[in-house]
Amino acid sequence: MFEGVPLTWFLITGTIMFFVGIYGFLVRKNLITMLMSIELILNSVNINFVAFNKILYPGHLEGMFFTIFIIAVAAAEASVAIAIIINIYRRLVNIDVEKMNEMKY
């Protein structure tokens, strides 16, 4: 409980956000929207981290630092992913994930 808000609420919010992200990743065809789904997933994890940190271990900062590092990794991942997407677009003139099956069997 944090000033009237229970930990469970944060966690449920994070969970819903996470599975919405999963759903988006599984369904969307456009590579950029898939990337956005991944951002949603990362953010839901971040919410869980900070909520755990604040409510269960108020004297510590681990959750926050993890969140910082996750944000940094997300930034790196986004930049590389977008570079790849642009490269793909240059070659195939679209970024539909279903058409990217050159390396199947």
């Binding site: 599984l26 279903e98 099956n101 050159e102 199947k104």
Partner: protein, 640 residues
């Protein structure tokens, strides 16, 4: 006691020459390769003579006046277990020192001769490299300290023989001959290997000194009856003799030797007359104390030797290729050596046959090498191997003629040439053992004289064949070895062998028994006389005799169809009833199983590969579902 460790050099020098000439021979001028090889062998020759002098006259004798075995050098080569190890080394005793002399002398002569004979040939350096390899292997064989070292060098000798027979590898017949020699001797060596394994299993040692000592384990262990009423030791000796018979071209493993004459003639002189083919004799002599204790094995040696000698002598009378005549003659003479070993006893005068065998080996090396080198000079001049193309050559090639005549007289056993003495000892030893075999060997000497002079007259006398260009005497590098070897053929018989090389090292006295010597000389003279009458002038007498004998002479001309028998056995029986079913089994069962496995895998993966659709989202779906199922499993279903 003199330190004999320098004898390692006799082995190492040819090896170094082989490596140097083999690797860099193509960059030298051909003559340089020849000179390097010849120089190497010359050093080896000098060292061998020095060793022989030191061994026989300075320090070879032990306390009791007998020659002892000297371990000049030994190193542990393969350490299998504490007890079982394979050594490499140099063992000096009367027979190995005698063999050192024979090998280095003939090899040196052949090297010298080859410089002239092979001049201008393609592969001149290769020839000398292989010749050095052969010399190294043969020397290693005779100085082997244990039977396994001997086996290794035995195979090396076989390889170099193979390489040299197939020297003209663009010629189909040479390739076939080299393969034949290799396969036949390999087959015989299988017996040798089995014999080695049985011997070492029974006695627990490879070492010659231990094996041939008076308290040898070979004399006590393995004596129980094992198979067909013979003991393990007897069987192992028979198997080892099989290897020796293969290398020494004893009947029925002789079929490779006549074909081996496809090699260059100096090779025939060195390998297929003087050195390698007597390796079998040497092997039996080396293990003689054990053979002597196994009478059946020794009888096998005796009968095989006697039969081979008469068989080859008969065939030699009908052949027209001069090298083949010499090949069969070699086989016959080696048969006599084997025979002499077979009739020999052990120790002192009992060991007369042993001494005679070694003596004949020694003298035979000189006159047979001389005959081959002479034949080489003739072939060099006439460009043909066949007698019909020759005749009247004595005017064109005086030196060759003289030396060839000396060799013919020596091999015919005319006193006082070398062949007389050694052959006389063999006959004396045979006479002590069995009258029948004595007469057989006497016939062989008569036949030997006959076919050698048939050869001689056909080449040097007879019709005056018209040649395309007049045959000329060979160059000095070829005639010099002929003359040196002729000296050997003349005087080698004067060596007091009985006081140097004996079965147990104890010297003894020999004297010429007139009861043996007179029939022997008479047999030789009769052979020569008949040959003179038949071939001195060109007549049709030989043809009429040939036709009178009908089937027999035809069979002899066709080498008694031994080759055909082999072909029948291999082609008709082995190929049809063994190889074909095996090939069928291999093609259908073994390959079938493999192909079936490949087919099943292929089919299965064809079905399964659709799973890998290339759709990332499908993969992700499977991954998420799996993770969730695992979570469900671990959180709710697998509690406690």
């Amino acid at each position: 006691m003199i330190d004999f460790s320098y004898t390692v050099l006799i082995l190492l020098i040819p090896l170094v020459v082989f490596v140097v000439v083999g690797l860099f021979g193509n960059r030298f001028k051909p003559i340089v390769s020849g000179l390097v090889g010849t120089t190497g062998l010359f050093i080896g020759w000098v060292l061998s003579i020095f060793t022989a002098y030191n061994y026989f006259f300075v320090s070879g004798k032990g306390a009791e006046g007998a020659f002892v075995k000297v371990l000049a050098f030994s190193m542990r080569w393969l350490n299998l277990t504490d007890k079982l190890h394979i050594d490499m080394g140099v063992l000096l005793d009367p027979i190995s020192v005698m063999m050192l002399i024979v090998i280095t002398t003939v090899s040196f002569m052949v090297h010298l001769y080859s410089i002239g004979y092979m001049a201008g040939e393609k592969g001149f350096s290769r020839f000398f490299a292989t010749l050095s390899l052969f010399s190294f292997s043969m020397l290693g064989l005779v100085v082997a300290t244990n039977i396994f070292q001997m086996y290794i060098f035995w195979e090396l000798v076989g390889v170099s023989s193979y390489l040299l027979i197939g020297f003209y590898y663009t010629k189909d017949s040479a390739v076939a001959a080299s393969k034949k020699a290799f396969i036949v001797t390999r087959f015989a060596d299988l017996g040798f290997l089995i014999g080695i394994l049985m011997l070492s299993y029974a006695t627990g040692t490879f070492d010659f000194i231990k094996l041939t000592a008076p308290d040898s384990p070979a004399l006590t262990s393995g004596q129980g009856v094992w198979f067909l009423g013979l003991s393990t030791m007897t069987w192992s000796m028979i198997f080892i003799f099989m290897g020796g018979a293969g290398k020494s071209a004893m009947f029925p493993l002789h079929i490779w030797l006549p074909d081996a004459m496809e090699g260059p003639t100096p090779v025939s002189a060195l390998i297929h007359a003087a050195t390698m083919v007597v390796a079998g004799v040497y092997l039996v002599a080396r293990l003689f104390p054990i053979y002597h204790m196994n009478a059946v094995a020794l009888d096998v040696v005796m009968y095989v030797g006697a039969f081979s000698s008469i068989f080859a002598a008969v065939v030699a009378c009908t052949q027209y290729d001069i090298k083949r005549v010499l090949a069969y003659s070699t086989m016959s003479q080696i048969g006599m050596m084997m025979f002499a070993l077979g009739v020999s006893g052990y120790g002192g005068e009992e060991g007369l046959g042993f001494m005679a065998s070694m003596f004949h080996l020694f003298t035979h090396a000189f006159f047979k090498a001389l005959l081959f080198l002479g034949a080489g000079a003739i072939i060099h001049a006439v460009h043909s191997n066949v007698m019909q193309d020759m005749g009247g050559l004595r005017k064109h090639m005086p030196i060759t003629h003289a030396t060839f005549l000396i060799a013919c007289l020596a091999i015919a056993g005319i006193p006082p040439l070398s062949g007389f003495f050694s052959k006389d000892e063999i006959l004396a030893a045979g006479h002590m053992k069995s009258m029948f075999l004595f007469i057989v060997e006497l016939t062989v000497s008569g036949l030997t004289a006959f076919y050698m002079f048939r050869l001689y007259y056909n080449i040097f006398w007879g019709k005056n064949t018209h040649y395309h260009h007049t045959p000329h005497e060979a160059p000095l590098t070829m005639t010099l070895p002929l003359m040196i070897l002729a000296l050997g053929a003349l005087f080698a018989g004067l060596v007091p062998f009985a006081s140097l090389v004996t079965s147990d090292g104890m010297p003894f006295e020999t004297h010429i028994e007139l009861g043996v010597a007179i029939p022997a000389v008479l047999a030789g003279l009769i052979g020569i006389t008949i040959a003179t009458l038949m071939y001195r002038k060109e007549t049709n007498v030989p043809e009429r005799i040939f036709n009178t004998l009908g089937g027999f002479s035809k069979a002899a001309f066709n080498k008694f169809y031994i080759d055909e028998v082999y072909l029948f056995i291999t082609k008709k029986i082995l190929f049809n009833y063994v190889s074909r079913p095996v090939a069928w089994f291999d093609r259908h069962i073994v390959d079938g199983a493999m192909n079936g496995m490949a087919y099943v895998t292929n089919e299965a993966s064809d079905r399964v590969k659709k799973l890998q659709s290339g759709q990332v989202q499908q993969y992700a779906l499977v991954f998420v579902s799996g993770a969730l199922l695992l979570a469900l499993l671990f959180i709710y279903l697998w509690t406690n």
